[in-house]
Each structure stands twice: as C-alpha cells, then as structure tokens.
C-alpha cells in the first residue's frame, strides 16, 4: 500500500483564484499534484451538490476559493458562497464528513505565492486527517 496521497478538489473562481493558480504556474512556484482545479465563474455558483459529490467520489478535502470580499466581479457572489459553506460546515458532520475537510479561502489574482502556499498547507493537513470517509478503497 503506497503512502496516503490525498485528493483535493478545488473549486476556483475564474476571476481571482484561477488566475492566481496560473500565476503560480508561470512563476514556476508550482503546487502539489494532489490538487485538481475545477474552474467556475464565481464561487457563488458552487452548488452544495458539487461539494458533496466531490466528497462522495473520494475527495479527501474540498476547497472553495474566490475573490476577497468586496472584489467579486459579480458584486456579492463570494458572500453567497460564504453563507453556503457555513451551512455546509454544519451539515457535513451529520453525514460523516469532518467539517475541516471543507475549506473556504479568498485568494486574489496576483497572489500566486499565496495560492501555492495554501495548497501546500492543505495537502499537509489532509494527510494528517487521513482518507475521507467517502473515499472507496483505492490502490495507487
């Protein structure tokens, strides 16, 4: 059995965090391969269904990351995301997913370094938490 390598699904907003990830790439800073980016136009369009699906598919951690409050291209999408994540934090433990497995961050477009650092921290955290309960047995 190989060492546990968590899978992190990150829903990133098109305007801020996705370009920060791009910047991390161009700056050759790089971020762990564990992270799979899924681009959305705004964190406000991240349906809780997507998050739960990600966990059920086997994500050990799910990240929702968008613009800083006040910077949202669509005015207030990130505020909506914040409220939803808060609700999910309350609900997820009831279905067996620790609330710490769902993260919400604000990462601006020029924060390439911040993005890479955050991803690295999340990988470490996820490793510490062990495999998520939704993840079926896998061989890597």
């Amino acid at each position: 059995m190989a060492e546990f390598n968590p899978i992190i699904i990150a829903f990133v907003c098109n305007w801020c965090t996705y370009t920060a990830a791009d910047l991390a790439g161009t700056s050759r800073i790089g971020y762990p391969e564990n992270v799979r980016l899924i681009r959305v136009m705004c964190t406000g369009m991240v349906d809780p269904q997507y998050i739960i699906k990600a966990f059920l598919e086997g994500a050990d951690m799910v990240l929702v990351s968008g613009c800083h409050p006040g910077d949202c291209h669509y005015i207030n999408g990130n505020y909506k995301a914040r409220r939803r994540i808060k609700l999910l934090h309350a609900i997820l433990p009831t279905i067996g997913i620790e609330r710490d497995r769902l993260k919400l961050t604000w990462i601006g477009a020029s924060d390439g370094i911040q993005f890479a650092r955050t991803m690295q921290e999340l990988v470490v955290q996820a490793k510490g938490m062990g495999p998520g309960s939704g993840r079926p047995e896998i061989m890597t």
Binding site: N5, W15, A21, G25, T26, G30, V40, C42, N76, T140
Partner: protein
C-alpha cells in the same frame, strides 16, 4: 511603411487608456492602444489596493454587453478585445493631419525577445548574469536584465533591459523557443562597406567591426566602392577622403545620388577637417578624424545601426487620438533632499510602501524596516512632499495624496492587527470626493493619528537609524517623535516626455507641464481631434480617471461619427462581426467527436510522461476520435502547425492541452471562425503546469504525471461533451435616450448622444433649461458661464434629434434595458408614452439649507448662492462694505451631511476675489476647516492669501459663534496660532452650506436606482463604474451624482453619454455565451432566483406567469442556478451535468470504482 486604419489611437494603456479603448470598442470602433512600457496597466499594475474601497475589482471595467468580444479574466493581468489592437513598447513619434484624418507614426522599441515566441519559461532569467534594481518594485528588490515587466501579466513575455544587458548571450543559447534575438544577430544583416586606399586601415576596420558581429566588405577605391554598392544593399559606408583616383567627397556625391538612404561617414586625417565638414553638408552623417581607435568608431557605428533599426516605423491612419499618458511622481532626492531619501534606509515614497504592502512585493506584504527587517512599530506619513511648495516650483496640490495616505494607514492598521502606530502629518486634509470624508472618519476610528503640521526635514538617529521628526505645535510646544519608517507622500509631476508629446500632438501644456484642457471641456485640447483622458491633465483618483477617460472616449467617438459613420452600426457594418453568427455549422445533431491536440511543451511531455499511455487512455473513450501531439502551441509557429493539421481532421469538437488557456481564447475564436464552428466547441486545458512545477512532496505520488494529464484532458473533454451551441440571439435596441433634467449636465449628455445619431427626449421640470447655470456667473478660473449656457441651449433648440419637454416630469418608467417604457407627464398634463434604450439621470442638486450661525435672523447673513445673486451682475455695491466674513463647511462634513461638497471652497475664493477687486480696502476673513483647493486650483488659494484675505482655521469641535444684535453681526472664533479669541464685527456674513442632491424618492423608486446614505445617486461601483447604476441602462451625471464644478459636471455628462452610447450606438446588442437560461417546465414559481440575481435581471411576468431573465443585464454569474431547487434555472456553459461530469473526470483513473451520476441536476 505599411498603412493601416483604425478609428482611434489611444496613447497610454493604463486604467484611463483601457477605459477609453473599451468604450470605443464596445461601440464597434477599432482602436490602436499603445504604451511605451512593455506591459499594460500603468500605475495601477503596481497597486494592489485603491481607495475608497480598499480592494481591486478592476475586472468590473470590462464590457457588460458583447462580453465574448473581449477577455473574461482578471483585468489587472491584461486584456484583449476584438476591436482593440494592443502595441506595447511603442511610442508616438509624429502626428499629422486633422480631426477625422490623422497620420500617426509609431515607433516600436525592440525588446529583443519576440513575444510571439516567448513561452515565459524563465530559463533565461536563471542564467542572466546582470542584476539590477527592479523598477516594478520601485527599486526595493532586484531583478535580472532579462525580466518580466509585470510579474502577473497574461500573456507574459520576457523583455531585456538593454542598458544593463551585458550581451553575454547566455539567454539566447538557453531559450527553448528561439525567442531571443539580441541585436548581435541582427547585426549580421547590417552591411558595412569600408573604402580606403590603405590596406592596413581597411584591415583594421574590418577586424574591429567583425568582432562586433557586423558584416563588413572592403573596397580600395571609389570606383570599386560604387561597383560594390550596386551589388548589395549596404546600410553604412565608411570612406576615406583622400584617395588617389576618386576623392571621398566625389564618391559621397555619386553614392548619395544613387543610394540616398545609404549612411555615409567620412574618415579624414587632421589636415582635411574642413573637407569633412563640407562633406557633411553634402549629406555625410558624420566624420572621424584619423587616427582613431575602436572606442571612437564602434559606439558611432552601433548608434547608426540602432537608428536604422528604429527607423522601421509604422504608419497608422486614425480618425482621432486620445492621450492617456498619466503622470509621474516627484523624486524627493532632488538637490536639497531634505528627507534623506535614498540615504536613510527607512524613508520610502508612497509607491514603495504600496509595493511593500503587496503580496507580490519584495517582502510579500510584511511591513518590515529596510535596514534590519524588524517589525515596523511606528510609521509616519509626511504630506505635501513636492506639492504646494514653491521652492520646487510646484504651486499646486496633487489632489489625492491625502487619500492615498489614509488608505495606506488604514491598510497598515489592518495588516498589523492594529499594533502599529500610524501618524499622518498634514496641512489640509483634502477629502473632497463623495465618500472621502467618511473614509477619513473611518481612519480616525481605526486609530490613525493626525497632526496638523508640515514637516520640513528628517533626521536619523545614528545608532538605531530611527527617523526623528521635530516640529513645533500651534501652541508653541516643541515636540520630537521617532518612527521606524517614514513615508513621503510625493506629489505629481508631468508624464514622461510630455513636452515632446505635446509638440507632436499640437496640444498646450499648463505652466507646470501637464496637458492644458479647454475651459469647461476637460477632455478637449487645442487640437480638435486630439483628446485627453485620465491623469495627463493632473493626477486623479480611479473614479475621476475613469470618468474623464469615458468623457475622452465620447469626444473621440463623436469625431469618428461625424467623419466616418453617419449611420448606426448594423451587424454587417461592424468590422468585427458578432461572435455568434447563425451561419456556423450546426453540430447539434451530430454525435460528439472530440479531437485532442496536446502540446509537448518543448518536448517536456515526452520526458515526463509516456505519450502512448495518454493516447491509449484517451482512446478508451469512443467519443475521443483522434489525438495529435504538436510542439510549442503557444508560439505562432506551433499554432500554425496545429491549424493546418486540424483542417484535415473530421471532428466537431476540439480539445487543446497546453499552458495558459487564457491566452488561447483569442486565437480560438479566429480558428473557430476559420473552421466555421462555434467557438465553444473548442476548449483549452492547462497541462503544462504539471511539467513546469517545481518538485513538490506530492511528486512521490504513486499516480504518475501521466494520469494527472489524463484527468485534465478528461475534464476538458467533459466540458466539450456538455457544451451548448445555441447561437446568442441578437437583442434589438430601442435607439432613443431619455435624459431626465435639463441643467448643464443633462443638456451636455443630450447633445453628446444626439450628435451621434440617436434620438433624445430631454425632460425638464422647470419652465426653462439651464438649472444652476442660470445663476452661476463664472468659474474660479475666470471663465464665463453665461456664453456656455446660451450656446448649449441654442444648440439644443436647433438640434433635430432632441425633443425637449419642459415643465414635464417622469410619471413612470417600466421595462429594462434596452427597452424602457416611459410615461412623461407634459406641461399640459398630458401623458406621453415613449420607449427608450437607455436613461440618463441629471436631475441636479441645490444649495443646502441651514439654520446655523444665525441664518435667518439678519439680512446681513447670506448663503453663497444668495451672495452670487445679489453681488454678481448689477446687484448691490461691495464698496459699501467694510468687513466680510465667510464661514465654510456649514452643516457639511458632519452628521447628518457627512460629505464634502467640493465647490464651496473654490466659490468662497472666487467671491472673495471679486469682492477684493471691487473694494481693495475690504477686510475679508475666511473661516475654514480644510481648504479643499485640490489640483491646480491651489494657486488661487495662494493668491487669495497674497490679496490680504485672512484665513482662520477651526476644528469641528470648536466652531465659530455668531451673534446678531440689531444691525450688527458679530463673529467669534478662536485664533489657533495665537491662541486668542477673536471677535469680528462684520457687515456681511457668508455661509457655505454645500450641495444637496435632487433625487426624489418617487423617481428613484420608479427608475429602480438606489441612493446612497446622503441621497446622491448610488453608482454600480464607486471606482470602476462611476456613472452607471447597478441596474443596467441607467446612468447619472451632474450634481445628482456628486457635488462638483461645472467642468467636472460636464465630464460626468460626457462619460454617461458614452456609456449610454455603448448600448445605443448599435441596432442590436448581444450578451455573452455564458448566461442564464430558464427551463419553464421545471419552474415551480418559488421566485428564489429573483432576489438572488445581483443585477436585478430576473422578474416574473404576470401575463405568462413565467420567470424571465433579461439577456443584456445578465452577466452569467450562476447565482440563480444554485438557488433553484428544481434545476429550472441553469447557467448556460456551466450546466449541472457538465459540472458533475467534470468532477467525475477529476477522479478518473484513480478510483477503482467509478461512479457516474447520470441523473440530471
């Protein structure tokens, strides 16, 4: 020289240039946007935070309609638009012609790195030996000679700073894309002919020039030289003068006759200098005196070479030019350097501080001392450095340094969790904007200290290197404070090479070197087709820059209209057609066939993964019909290879795997058009970062890069499988505008719109047009308002396209952009129904009422407006007065009217000036809080002081007191410097009460616009969309927007008109591909989606009982889709099916059991 035509040339690609370019492009005009720097963004590229909202949000500048014509990513990183051609490292060298027909000559500086080839890999940077100060970080960190001009730009090509390049060539060798062409290699193409009868000279010269990589041929005589000139195109000829058969001068004459472009340099022995000079008169460029050495020869040859390179200028035909070149800042290290800038390590300018506070800056946002990296515990800002200082020839204010200091202080407080002491040393706190006073109060609440004293110099403690500020308080107390860091709020200076630019464009400069606008029209210059936007006329904050940029755009589009268009733009008439054309191939009935192109990224792909494994993995999916690996797709060459390969492929969807998918958006559109397919049938995914990322712990992941690549590809394939291909339907526009309010703002907006062929309904409540301009006489600068008003009113009356409705009001407005339905109640109480595509609110404002300071108890106490009416024109005689007192900020800048009205200080000065002129012996006192004479109006403040007008400042806690006693008016105020109470008996007391908006609740509710806390029109975004309302299609200008002078009002009116024209100029409009759709059969009418929409774009139609979404207002955020419980509201382009499929694909290959969620969301 190639000749191309564009409607407009915009010089300067900062915020203002971008705004103007986008405004013009949205209308369908073509724009050439140039900037002398290798990157876009101007000053704001360096600033992460801008007041008054402390955050970015620049992406909100992007167009709301026809979204797919341009980029849809972070604007701070760059942009593209179908109608805008961007040329960086480019300068305007010459401009000839007249409005509607200019010829511009552009010079593009070679950066020695070809942006079409550079992939931004950074290998060159690693091997470059030359390290210099990084100007993006204001010198606080280092970079290499080959560097990225702006670290976060997309696309990001490297550039070489020639001044620091050592020409070692290491970068050229290591570049995998062959993108670097140091001029060394171009030198090979530079042919030099050396003519001398002496062999030794010929040989030496050839040897020297050969070493420098030039191509050299030799001729022993004039005749031989002429022979050789006929055989090859030589660029330079070096010839001796004294030669036996043919004299050098004769050779020169003959050569120049046949080859006029040949550059000739004479070589002469000392005795024949006169001949050499004579030769220069005959066309030789220069002469060298023998004997000379390489040190003399080579620089001259290199210079000639570079000049020849530079002469490859571009010529452009344009209808109009907009100058948006911005400003620079004062360098505190001027000869006196009173603040130790550059000497004391902890003294910074405000831009340097911004870089330090930035996450991408030299210290990644940590505020630390520059000498010992310790935390900064005490930081001070010194205001008015290089401004308001006649010693450095700057008798002007730089306008926004006060606000910048406030912003930075607030940020520092936030970033250090309030642990750092912040102090601002100032003379006047100029918070003249609508929300600035509240911002100032916030700063005070956050604990920022304010000390009203000008600091004249700094000293540094020898041991600790702390900075010592010594000053004397008003009460005479000597105070000393030490700080860890001192920030100098440096003032504005004219932009680079303004003198040259003003000569080229035929525009005037003001005495300080900034562009001088025409009176009343801030975007107009002395040259009728050349306009100016942004800070080139004086430093402005973001909102004002954007307003002035749009105003410049309006002037430019007006010229384009009158010279070229004269007809509305139809779908066929536009140079760049609509993105979604109904004639593309319809693939809706075809099975999904995806063809994949994978970039090998300089062959990294083959090194990191097994391409065969990827191919076979892809082929597992029957819908992936073909795969191809091509190298370096990001380069022009690689892309061309792919295009030619794809032409032979039979597929209806294309997946492209490379780096920087954003960059491909533009190329994909062109490709789609070429292949007659819908652009959303192409999708790009980022696989390159999987190869280029630094080794991270997760590389020990059992999953090889190969399966990660596969996952990315499958994610992309899923997107393609679910992509919608419905064309975007055109939305017909009602090409008529409604302007509510007939003051100068409303009239200017109406004329601007009508002048571009759009009909206007101008509705005015009063009997006559004119608004406040009916009683205003002149501006502070002395320009008479009467003629402007009369001219404007007569133009309105004569304009066939403007319908004026006086004594009318708006009864009701329903509907949305681009078809509002308006009911106008006319003077005869008739109701008129009209439809409009856009609405401009210009209902104006009036002087605020007051009952402070005894107003109403004596006829000697008047407001500024009353004084203007009484004393202006042929009112009463000021000679009868002995004393006049003016009190400013009456009821302003305090609750409940906590905003600055901006016009009162200039008005007071203007009235004092008038009074002083008519009665030189008059005693005039002005009692003020802060003199808001920002920008170039500061000179009037200086002048007022010189005119013996006494200024007494007061703090809001201790306002003056007024006592009226029969016919006497006594004003009591504390003299702050002397610390004594003054009692002034005055014949006239003038109260400056400020401006209140005229926006009745019924009107704002009817229109659906919001008001801010003070009753003014609330903008969609204070900085980026200053004249728009959040409800699209409604704009505001003039006093109802914010208090401002007549000139600035006209700026907002022109800006609002341009914004309205971006909708009204075209017969049809389009939204974007990513937009909300509704499946009515699933809708349960719960109406949750309606309040969820931030753009108020959804409504429930009572007639058909359906939920509708306005395609123009919808921006595609997806908020509606999330809240809908039934899946009736979806976001086209991001359907639930696609999202769930993409999530699946992210796991593909790593889970044993693959779960497919087929059920529809």
């Amino acid at each position: 020289m190639e000749k191309r035509h564009k409607n407009a040339l915009v010089v300067g690609a900062g915020i203002s240039g971008i705004r103007t370019a986008l405004d013009l492009a949205q209308q369908g005009n073509t724009v050439e946007l140039i900037d002398r720097h290798p990157a876009m963004g101007g000053l704001l590229a360096q600033l992460d935070y801008q007041f008054p909202t402390n955050h970015c949000g620049m992406c909100r500048l992007l167009p709301l309609t026809r979204r797919d014509e341009g980029s849809q990513y972070c604007l701070r990183k760059g942009m593209f638009h179908e109608n805008i051609h961007i040329r960086l490292s480019c300068e305007l060298k010459n401009l000839e012609g007249e409005a509607g027909n200019y010829t511009a000559r552009l010079r593009q500086k070679p950066t020695w790195v070809d942006p079409d080839r550079c992939v931004g890999c950074g290998l060159c940077e690693a091997v470059c030996p030359s390290e210099i100060a990084d100007c993006f970080n204001e010198g606080l960190s280092d970079r290499k000679a080959i560097h990225l001009p702006v670290p976060h730009a997309i696309p990001n090509a490297y550039v070489i700073d020639l001044a620091s390049c050592t020409r070692c060539g290491e970068c050229e060798k290591i570049c995998p894309a062959d993108a670097i062409q140091l001029s060394q290699s171009r030198r090979r193409d530079f042919q030099i002919l050396v003519v001398d009868d002496e062999l030794s000279i010929r040989d030496s010269l050839k040897e020297w020039l050969d070493e420098e990589d030039f191509s050299v041929d030799m001729a022993a005589s004039g005749g031989e030289a002429l022979d050789m000139l006929g055989k090859k195109p030589y660029a330079l000829m070096l010839t001796d003068i004294k030669m036996p058969e043919m004299e050098g001068t004769e050779l020169l004459e003959l050569a120049k006759t046949s080859y006029p472009d040949l550059v000739v340099v004479m070589m002469t022995a000392y005795a024949t200098v006169e001949t050499a000079v004579q030769a220069m008169k005959m066309g030789a460029l220069d002469y060298l005196v023998k004997p000379f050495d390489p040190q003399t020869l080579i620089p001259m040859v290199v210079r000639i070479f570079q000049d020849t390179e530079a002469a490859k200028d571009l010529e452009l035909q344009v209808d109009t030019v907009v100058i948006s070149t911005g400003t620079t800042f004062y360098d505190p290290a001027d000869p006196r350097n009173l603040f130790g800038y550059g000497i004391y390590p902890n003294v910074l300018t405000h831009i340097e501080l911004e870089r330090m506070l930035s996450h991408t800056g030299p210290s990644q946002g940590q505020l630390v001392r520059l000498d010992n990296q310790q935390q900064v515990r005490k930081i001070a800002w010194l205001q008015c450095i290089g401004s308001r200082d006649t010693q450095v020839h700057a008798d002007y204010c730089s306008g926004i340094c006060c606000m910048i200091a406030l912003k930075e202080a607030i940020l520092v407080k936030k970033m250090t969790q309030n642990s750092t002491d912040t102090a601002i040393f100032y003379m006047d706190m100029r918070t003249f904007g609508k929300s600035f006073q509240a911002y100032y109060d916030d700063a005070k609440k956050d604990g920022v200290r304010f000390v009203r004293c000008r600091i004249h110099s700094l000293a540094q403690d020898r041991e600790t290197r702390d900075l010592v500020i010594q000053y004397v308080s008003k009460s005479g107390e000597h105070l000393t404070e030490t700080f860890d860091m001192v920030v100098l709020s440096t003032g504005q200076r004219p932009g680079h090479q303004m003198k040259e630019l003003s000569d080229i464009c035929g525009v005037d400069l003001n005495p300080y070197g900034f562009i001088q606008p025409q009176p009343f029209f801030p975007a107009a210059t002395g040259n009728p087709g050349v306009f100016v936007g942004g800070s080139a006329t004086g430093l402005k904050d973001v909102a004002e820059s954007v307003i002035h940029a749009s105003a410049a755009g309006l002037n430019a589009s007006g010229v384009i209209w009158s010279h070229h268009r004269q007809a509305p733009l139809t779908a066929q008439g536009q140079e760049a057609g609509p993105v979604m054309d109904e004639t593309v191939r319809d693939v809706s009935r075809e099975p999904v066939n995806i063809f994949t192109v994978i970039c090998s990224c300089g062959h990294r792909l083959e090194q990191e993964v097994d391409p065969g494994h990827i191919m076979s993995g892809l082929r597992d999916d029957p819908e992936m019909v073909g795969q191809l690996v091509i190298d370096r797709l990001c380069t022009a060459e690689g892309w061309e290879n792919m295009v030619s390969a794809l032409e032979k492929v039979d597929a209806n969807r294309f997946l492209i795997a490379a780096c920087h998918p954003y960059v491909f958006a533009r190329k994909i559109k062109t490709l789609a058009r070429k292949m007659n397919l819908h652009p959303s049938l192409f999708h790009a995914v980022d696989t390159a970062r999987l190869f280029w990322s630094v080794d991270s712990p997760a590389k020990e992941d059992g999953s090889t890069s190969g399966s990660r690549v596969l996952q990315e590809l499958f994610q992309g394939a899923t997107v393609l499988k679910h992509t919608g291909t419905d064309p975007i339907m055109p939305i017909p526009v009602t090409r008529r505008a409604l302007v509510v309010g007939g003051g100068i703002a409303g009239m200017t907006a109406a004329l601007s719109i009508a002048d571009q062929g759009v009909e206007v309904d101008l509705v005015e409540r009063d009997k006559s047009l004119g608004g406040n301009c009916l009683w205003l006489t002149r501006t502070l600068e002395g320009d008479a308002i009467g003629p402007l008003l009369n001219d404007t009113i007569s133009r309105i009356g004569q304009h066939p396209g403007i319908n004026v409705h006086t004594q009318s009001s708006i009864k009701d407005i329903t509907g949305q952009v681009p078809s509002f339905f308006t009911v106008i109640e006319t003077d005869e109480k008739q109701l008129v129904n009209r439809s409009h595509g856009a609405v401009i609110l210009a209902t104006g404002g009036s002087e605020a009422r007051t009952d402070s300071y005894g107003y109403g108890t004596s006829d000697r106490i008047m407001t500024q407006k009353e004084v203007a009416a009484k004393w202006g024109g042929d009112g009463a005689n000021p000679a009868d007065l002995g004393t006049v007192v003016m009190i400013l900020c009456v009821g302003s800048r305090m609750q409940p009217r906590n905003y600055c009205s901006r016009v009162c200080c200039p008005t007071a000065l203007k009235q004092a000036q008038d009074l002083r002129q008519s009665n030189p012996d008059l005693d005039i006192y002005i009692i003020y809080r802060d003199m808001m004479t920002h920008g170039f109006s500061e000179a009037y403040f200086t002048r007022a002081r010189r005119d013996n007008i006494m200024f007494i400042s007061y703090e809001p806690e201790h306002p003056p007191e007024v006592e009226t006693d029969q016919n006497r008016v006594l004003v009591r105020v504390n003299e702050p410097t002397l610390g004594v109470p003054l009692e002034i008996e005055t014949d006239l007391l003038v109260l400056a009460t400020g401006v209140t908006p005229q926006l009745p609740d019924e009107l704002s509710a009817t229109m659906g616009v919001e008001k801010d806390g003070n009753g003014f029109f609330l903008e969609a975004d204070a900085k980026w969309r200053p004249v728009d309302s959040l409800k699209q299609g409604i704009y505001a200008c003039g006093l109802v927007h914010s208090p401002r002078s007549v000139t600035d009002t006209i700026a907002t009116a022109q800006a609002a008109a341009q914004r309205a024209l971006s909708i009204l100029s075209n017969e049809t409009q389009y939204s974007g591909q990513i937009a909300a759709q509704i499946r009515h059969s699933l809708c349960s009418r719960c109406e949750r989606c309606i309040p969820a929409c931030p753009y108020v774009a959804r409504w429930r139609d009572p007639e058909d009982d359906h939920i509708h979404v306005n395609d123009m207002m919808c921006q595609g955020c997806g908020a509606c889709a999330v809240v809908c419980p039934n899946g009736a509201a979806i976001l086209e382009g991001f359907t639930g099916k696609r999202m769930l499929g993409v999530i699946d694909a992210a796991f593909q290959g790593t889970t044993v059991k693959e779960v497919f969620l087929e059920a529809e969301k």
